[in-house]
């Protein structure tokens, strides 16, 4: 028996190897090119700079002059950022608030819209298009459009509610640091909700209708059915939505940059990086340290996403490679 099994395994191995060997030289070259070129592009333009950025975060450099002018300073940049850089902790807080808003308000609203639109009432397509429209707009354009709405003297809101500087009691939506983050978040959420809505619409469509029938026949209310049956069935989409929400919160940059370059209540980690790197400031090491902090925070959702994708992917891959012809 043992010999047979051994022989079997051997045949298995030989068969597998033979399949691999069946690639001709020309094919090997093809594979090398097909994989190699994208690898070099992505590796060289994304991964290499990422590691270089982390390395630079331990240096002090003004970006002028060659690499020889780089000075090693250890963790000094990080110390300064944490202790004496006034915008840092506010920026950190703002990113958290951004995340909270997207996660607790914008995303659930998107889910709500998806759920309602899934009921296939009249005009679903129109509603879907309307709610999704902001998603195709650039965040920079969104920043512009909402400035037209929020402008203190010429904007839509203030003129409608009569709170311009002429009438007194001005509400400075974008200039008042106690409310401008929320004003901007409304604009960001406006876009985010549409994105989430589409994802959930697809997810809801793929839920087995008999599941819903069962929940409905139960007699319990809509909310109960949703909570106990539908929402759990959306698990694969939920994970994607969570990751997307977190990534969007960390990536927030364009809207805030357009409004006021990210100052006075609109500081964000991404803005701080560009402040120190682009522009005349040119504090490369410092900016890289801020970028490294952003990277570390981003790794968590990235790992979650990748892990989740490959839990099933692994199975599929093995299923595939394990096939016998």
């Amino acid at each position: 028996m043992a010999i047979d099994i051994a022989a079997d395994r051997q045949t298995d191995g030989v068969r597998r190897r033979r399949r691999a060997v069946r690639l001709s030289v020309r094919d090997r070259i093809a594979v090398a090119v097909m994989v190699g070129v994208p690898l070099v592009v992505v590796g060289g333009l994304i991964w290499f700079p990422t590691f270089a950025s982390v390395a630079l975060s331990f240096t002090s450099w003004d970006g002028i002059g060659g690499l020889g002018t780089i000075k090693w300073v250890g963790t000094e940049n990080y110390q300064q950022i944490a202790e004496i850089y006034p915008p840092f902790w506010p920026a950190f807080r703002h990113n958290l608030i951004w995340l909270g808003f997207l996660a607790l308000i914008a995303t659930p609203f998107g889910l709500l819209l998806a759920y309602q639109l899934d009921k296939r009432i009249r005009g679903t397509r129109v509603y879907q298009s309307i709610f999704f429209l902001p998603v195709v707009l650039s965040l920079a354009i969104i920043g512009f459009i909402w400035q037209l709405v929020y402008s203190p003297d010429q904007g839509l809101i203030n003129n409608v509610i009569g709170r311009t500087s002429q009438s007194g009691h001005l509400i400075d939506w974008l200039g008042d640091s106690s409310i401008n983050l929320w004003a901007v978040l409304v604009a960001a959420g406006w876009r985010h909700a549409g994105y989430i809505m589409i994802l959930y619409l697809a997810g809801l469509k793929s839920i087995d209708p008999s599941l819903r029938e069962a929940a409905a026949i139960d007699g319990a209310g809509e909310w109960h059915a949703f909570r106990t049956v539908i929402f759990p069935a959306l698990r694969p989409i939920n994970i994607v939505v969570v990751v997307i929400t977190v990534i969007e919160a960390l990536r927030a940059f364009d809207i805030v940059y357009i409004v006021n370059r990210g100052r006075n209540g609109l500081e964000l980690l991404s803005i701080l990086v560009t402040d120190n790197i682009i522009g005349e400031a040119s504090r490369i090491g410092y900016g890289s340290a801020l970028g490294a902090i952003l990277l570390v925070i981003s790794i968590v959702p990235i790992v979650v996403f990748v892990w989740n994708s490959f839990e099933e992917k692994n199975v599929r891959v093995f299923r595939f490679t394990g096939r016998r012809t």
Binding site: D62, P86, G175, D176, D275, I278, E280, A281, S282
Partner: protein, 442 residues
């Protein structure tokens, strides 16, 4: 980043919008590259850069991007070509962008000559070996400029790098007709100034103050500092040689706090353009800004009567001896390819003719060349020239007098923080001092 000129895009010929369908999945790299080659050699109406220019050409990088200065500069360059025969290739970039990207610009492929400002900012680049010294060009220019301007054109090593074209004063701008209407008088001392601001606020046309862009507030800080502590202290403070958390700087903020309640509402939500419009529409009574505020005045009558008074005195020891008058001009990059032509251009740009040609189209500034004719000056220019000419000391504006990273990453947020929380000065200046040590200490 100081914006003496508002940025505005280039009026140029429109391109065509050829949205093709996505069918290029298999386009070859050669075809793709050819498009770039094509795009590179076809020019849009205004602009293109060459790395190698034909002999007798000089390349110029300019941030005079809004309509009037752009036109004026184009006229000046045309005059140069007419008189010297050297042709000019101009690359005009939006104002803010040019300044923000200056570091990478200078290390990349800069033009031979480019627009910039005097002050530490310029000396910083000279020190980093990014500029070509032009002592030979200055041989002919020296007698045409005052000693102050000569000093402003030198780097820290004593060599000449900069050629000035014009400068303009920061002062308190107002419309005399409003003053007449409401019975205001021009204040000479700080107390009179505060009283006037108070009255303006009560009358519904408060003193204008806008700091959404972050840099306009620096003008007020500079003036209060020079009036309170003197020009020398100001220069040393900018150079990082004085403490920010000392009594002297605290005094500056204390004075400023007196003024804050009388400003308009919504300070941090307004741009200087909106402030200028308020001044024109008599919604604002007076405005501490540079003379470029005149560009916002589209009403001719209003523009004609626009005038200013010098920032009031605080400490009689200093009086009103210092004027903040940034100088705009030109530098030659180290990587200049057409050195002789570039030097010819620099030499021309420093002459009275160049200044006169420029100011003929853009009358919001004052020539720096002693010999430039002032016959065509309007009332505002004449007054500005008198103010600058009579100044004992001239400062350049905070973000040109100090390190750019200090000005943009530390001072802009710090001043905005002061505006939001004027009572919390102690911790504010302590933090500025800590950051200053971290930056200057390098």
């Amino acid at each position: 980043m100081s914006e003496p000129r508002p940025p505005s895009p280039d009026p140029a010929g429109a391109g065509n919008n050829a949205l093709t369908r996505r069918g290029l999945l298999y386009s070859g790299a050669a075809g793709v590259a050819a498009v770039y080659g094509l795009k590179s050699t076809s020019g849009s109406a205004a602009v293109r850069r060459l790395t190698r220019s034909a002999a007798g050409t000089v390349t110029v990088g300019s941030n005079y991007s809004d309509a009037i200065p752009k036109k004026a500069f184009a006229a000046t360059l045309k005059k140069f070509t007419q008189t010297s025969g050297v042709s000019v290739k101009l690359n005009s970039v939006d104002h803010n962008t040019f300044q923000e990207q200056i570091n990478s610009y200078l290390q990349g492929q800069p033009q031979d000559v480019f627009t910039w400002f005097a002050g530490y900012r310029m000396q910083f680049f000279a020190q980093r070996n990014l500029l070509t010294p032009i002592d030979d060009v200055w041989e002919k220019l020296k007698p045409q400029f005052s000693p102050a301007l000569q000093a402003a054109s030198k780097g820290l090593d004593g060599k000449y790098y900069f050629v000035p074209l014009y400068n303009y004063p920061w002062a308190v701008f107002y419309r005399p007709s409003l003053f007449k209407e409401k019975g205001y008088t021009v204040p000479k001392t700080w107390d009179q100034f505060i009283a006037l601001a108070k009255k303006m606020k009560a009358d519904g046309n408060p003193m204008v103050f806008t700091d959404k862009d972050g840099w306009p507030a620096m003008g007020t800080f500079d003036y209060i500092n020079m009036r309170t502590n003197g020009y020398d202290f100001h220069v040393r403070l900018m150079a990082g040689k004085e403490a920010w958390d000392g009594a002297k700087v605290k005094a500056v903020f204390d004075h400023w706090r007196e003024l804050l309640p009388h400003y308009n509402d919504g300070i941090l939500g307004k741009t200087w353009q909106e402030g200028g419009t308020d001044l024109q529409n008599k919604k604002g009574g007076m405005y501490v800004l540079g003379s470029f505020v005149g560009i916002q005045f589209t009403d001719k009558a209003a523009h004609d009567e626009l005038t200013f008074f010098a920032f009031p005195q605080i400490n009689p020891k200093w009086g009103q001896d210092s004027v903040e008058a940034p100088i705009d001009g030109f530098l030659m990059s180290k990587k200049a390819k057409n050195v002789d032509e570039a030097k010819k251009l620099m030499g021309f740009l420093g002459t009275a003719t160049a200044a006169e040609t420029y100011l003929a189209t853009d009358p919001n500034d004052v020539a720096t060349n002693k010999r430039a004719s002032t016959k065509k000056y309007n009332a505002l220019q004449k007054k500005a020239q008198k103010l600058i000419g009579g100044a004992k000391h001239i400062s350049q504006f905070m973000d040109r007098d100090t390190r750019p990273d200090f000005a943009s990453t530390v001072m802009i947020p710090a001043l905005q923080q002061f505006i939001n929380k004027p009572d919390d000065v102690a911790s504010l200046v302590k933090n500025i001092e800590k950051q200053k040590k971290a930056i200057f200490g390098q």
